[in-house]
Amino acid sequence: MGSTEMISTEINLGGMDLNLEKKIERLTLLLRLDGELDMHTASMVRQAIDIEIEKRGIRRVILNLQGVQFVDSSGLGVILGRYKKLLPLGGKLKITNVPPHIYKIMELSGLPKIINFYLDEAHAYEEGRGA
């Protein structure tokens, strides 16, 4: 239970946009991404996550990538950057719902060897909670 807070942020960038849906529950930030993740949108994802880490003390971040249609090394860089930021704080970054063609790019980058991937949000929430 506890306090649940819902924040929805929509960022529209004309044709090539990325929508972010934010949900904060206790110290976990859930971010649902919908759109293209490149150098243009990466900075928005970085800011959206970093502000919660710094101002709210968020230590667990779950990224739902179900709606991501494109990712390149700039997009992967922002994900890896958040992982690196959370690590020394004792935090965790989890990724869920990765579309197959996005996973192929991620696999080539070696990201799945570093960051934990989950089938869906429920599995990501579950792991590490009971222990």
């Binding site: 494109f70 080539l108 980058s109």
Partner: protein
């Protein structure tokens, strides 16, 4: 033998990276490439153009990036050119995990190399960088030699 050429010159702003992806995707669709091939071309173009803006022009929006798409027979040539700062050591810059920025993975050239059949980088300090990528288009089963 089909021949086609498209040239796009655009400001070095991040919004334009998505537009270059739309262009290569449209060209790929016109060439009847598979969705997978088109996805790969989009990543390769995105990396080259992002490099030009981020590294070539150091995110200064007041410059011009050149994209040249050329289809000659079964060859697709993509040239991305900037007139920026240039790369001092191209060989080093092309190494996996080489990056001047900890937020980036140093994978731009790795993706370009993986998704294209040929990759050539010509660069001179304070002159600029030209990235030339070639994709050999698969022959359709009915095509004759």
């Amino acid at each position: 033998m089909k021949t086609n050429q498209l040239i796009l010159t655009f400001s070095s702003i991040s919004e334009n990276v998505g537009i270059t992806r739309l262009l290569i995707a449209s060209v790929g669709a016109q060439l009847d490439l598979s969705l997978n091939d088109i996805e790969e071309l989009k990543v390769a173009v995105s990396e080259a153009v992002s490099n030009a803006i981020i590294h070539g022009y150091k995110n200064d929006p007041n410059h011009i990036v050149y994209l040249d798409l050329e289809i000659t027979g079964d060859t697709l040539k993509i040239v991305v050119k900037d007139e920026g700062c240039g790369i001092s050591d191209v060989e080093q810059a092309m190494q996996p995990a080489y990056s001047t920025d900890p937020e980036r993975m140093g994978l731009g050239f790795v993706f370009m190399q993986s998704f294209m059949d040929e990759l050539q980088v010509d660069s001179a300090l304070e002159v600029g960088t030209t990235v030339t990528m070639i994709k050999h288009l698969k022959q359709t089963p009915t095509a004759s030699h």
